[in-house]
Amino acid sequence: MTLVFLADGYPSFLLLMLFSLTVAGAAGRPLRCSVKGLKPFLLITLFTVALKAVAVSSISQDGSGCFNGVIREGAVLSIRIVLRLFLLLTAASLLTSTTTPVSLMDGLEALLKPLKRCHVPVHEAVTVMTIALRFIPVLLEEGERIYEAQASRCAELNSGNPLKRAVRCVPVLVPLLVCAFRRAEELAMAMESRCYRGSGAGTRMRRLSFSLADIVCAAVMMALAAAFTCIEYAT
C-alpha cells in the first residue's frame, strides 16, 4: 500500500497491478469477485476524478490557457487516480478477505508491541479497532431493518430538503444508537463472563509463529520493492 502511494510512472503501476492480481488469484479470489467488491467505491472514484479535473483545469487556465493540454493533463491525472484507488482497494480488500479479524488483531498487536514500553495500551486499542471493524456490517444490517420498519410506519425518510432529511433521520438513528448500546453492553457482558481481562492476561489458542511461508512472503515483498525502486528510478 505504501508502494501504491509512492508509485508515479505507468510501469510501476503495471507492476503493482500485476502483483496484486496475482496475489488475489493465488488467494482464490476470482477477478470478478474483486471487481464486484469495488462497486461501492465507484461513486467516490468518479467524484475524485471530477474534482481533480476541475482543480487541474483551474490551475492550467492561469498558465498556458491551452485547452487541449488541459484536457490531456486532466485525463492523465484521472487515470492515475483511478488506478491508484483501484490498487489501494484491491490491496485492502485482499487483506480483510484473507485474514480473519483475530489474526489481524494479533499481528497488529505484535507489530505495535514496542509502544507498550511507553505505556500505550496497545492491546486495548487494537481490540477496540477490531470490534469496530467487526460490527460495521452488523450495524448496517440493523440500520436497514429499522429503516424498513419506519418506512412501513409511513415515515417520510428520503424526501424534502437536506435539513428536513436530517431531521427525518432521527427515527432511524435513535433506535440504531439504542441497538448499538445494547449490543455493546451484551458484548461487554459476554467478555466479562468469559473472564476477559485485557492485555497480557490470556494465552492464545493459535500462536503466530514465523514459518517458511512468512519468509517467502517477506522475500517476495522485498523483491517487489526492489523492482519497484528500479523502475521508478529508471523512468
Binding site: 420498519a149 419506519q150 418506512a151 412501513s152 410506519r153 409511513c154 415515515a155 417520510e156 433506535p175 439504542v178
Partner: protein, 304 residues
C-alpha cells in the same frame, strides 16, 4: 421465493408457517411493497401494488416487523404511536383519538401515554410498537412473529387482542409464526412454506391432517391434534382435525355422551376409566410412556 400463488380474501386470518429461512419474512415484506417481485405480480384490492404510492399502500397494509420494539424512538409512548400519522393531515384531536384507540387495541391503558417507551418492559414495548402500526387503521395487518420471545401469558394476551381486531373490526390478518398451536387457535387458513415455495395450504384442519406434507416442511401437528389422532384409532367416531385443548375437551365430551356415559366434571376415576385408559394412563403413577399431552387434556377436561 418461487412459484407463489396466494390469494388472501378480505377478512381472513392467515397463518404463515415455515422453518427459519423458508421465506416467511421475505413473503411478508412483499405485501406492503418493501420488496418488489423480480417476476410475477402482486395486486391489492384488484389493483397492482405499483399503482398505489408507497405510503398509500403502507397505510392500508400495516406491517409489524420481528422485534418491533427496536423501532421505538420518541420521548413518549403517545408521540411514538402517533408517528405514523404525521403528514396524514389529521387534526390533533383526531390523532389523539386514534392513538388511544390503538393503545386500547393492544390492551394497554391510557396511563402509558406519557411514559417513555424505553422504560417499558419487553412485552409492553412490543404492544406499543404494534399500536404504532395499528394507528394508521390498516385494513390488512401483517405480523412477523409478533409474540416471539414473550412469556406465555403475554403471548396469549397479545394474540387475543389481534384476534379481537380480526373478529370485531374485520381486519385481515397475516401472521407468520413457528407455533402450530397458535395457528390452530387463531387462523382460518394456513400456508406452510418450504424452501421459498408453498408446501401445504388450506384450513388448519386439513393441513394438520396432512401429516406427511407437514413433516416434510419441518412441522408436526399440534400435540393435541396428535393425541386426537391416536384416540381415533380406538374411537373412529372422534374428530381428529382439532387443534385446541378446549375444542378437544368438547369433542371428547360429545363422544363420551354419545356412548351413553354421563360426564361428571371432577370424577377423575370415570374419565380415566372411560376414555383415557384405552390409550393413556394420565395418573402420576401410570406407565413410563404416558404422553404429557394426555395429562394436559385430562386437566382441561376435568376443569370444564
Amino acid at each position: 421465493m418461487r412459484e407463489i400463488t396466494l390469494r388472501i380474501e378480505p377478512g381472513t386470518f392467515l397463518g404463515v408457517a415455515g422453518r427459519s429461512g423458508s421465506g416467511k419474512t421475505t413473503l411478508l415484506r412483499h405485501l406492503n411493497g418493501l420488496l418488489r417481485p423480480t417476476s410475477g405480480k402482486i395486486t391489492f384490492d384488484g389493483l397492482p401494488v405499483d399503482a398505489y404510492g408507497a405510503r398509500a399502500l403502507r397505510r392500508r397494509v400495516g406491517l409489524v416487523f420481528q422485534r418491533p420494539e427496536d423501532q421505538l424512538f420518541e420521548e413518549t409512548v403517545y408521540k411514538d404511536i402517533a408517528f405514523g400519522l404525521s403528514g396524514s393531515g389529521l387534526g390533533p384531536e383526531e390523532t389523539a383519538d386514534r392513538v388511544r384507540e390503538a393503545l386500547h387495541a393492544v390492551g394497554l391503558g391510557e396511563e402509558f401515554l406519557e411514559r417513555s417507551p424505553f422504560r417499558l418492559s419487553g412485552g409492553e414495548k412490543r404492544r406499543v410498537a404494534i399500536a404504532g402500526v395499528l394507528v394508521m387503521n390498516p385494513s390488512v395487518l401483517v405480523l412477523d412473529e409478533p409474540v416471539a420471545g414473550l412469556d406465555p401469558l403475554g403471548r396469549r394476551d397479545i394474540l387475543d387482542h389481534i384476534g379481537g381486531l380480526w373478529r370485531d373490526r374485520g381486519v385481515t390478518v397475516v401472521m407468520a409464526t413457528h407455533d402450530m398451536e397458535e395457528i390452530a387457535r387463531y387462523a382460518g387458513k394456513v400456508v406452510v412454506l418450504k424452501g421459498g415455495s408453498i408446501a401445504v395450504e388450506g384450513t388448519p384442519r386439513d393441513v394438520f391432517r396432512d401429516v406427511d406434507a407437514l413433516e416434510s416442511a419441518g412441522f408436526e401437528p399440534p400435540r393435541i391434534t396428535r393425541l386426537m389422532m391416536r384416540l381415533k384409532e380406538a374411537l373412529p367416531e372422534i374428530d381428529d382435525g382439532i387443534g385446541t385443548i378446549e375444542e378437544a375437551a368438547e369433542e371428547i365430551k360429545r363422544v363420551y355422551r354419545g356412548k351413553g356415559c354421563g360426564w361428571k366434571g371432577h370424577d377423575k376415576g370415570r374419565a380415566h376409566g372411560g376414555i383415557f385408559s384405552r390409550q393413556f394412563d394420565p395418573s402420576p403413577d401410570g406407565p413410563e410412556d404416558k404422553d404429557t399431552v394426555g395429562i394436559r387434556l385430562y386437566d382441561a377436561c376435568i376443569s370444564c
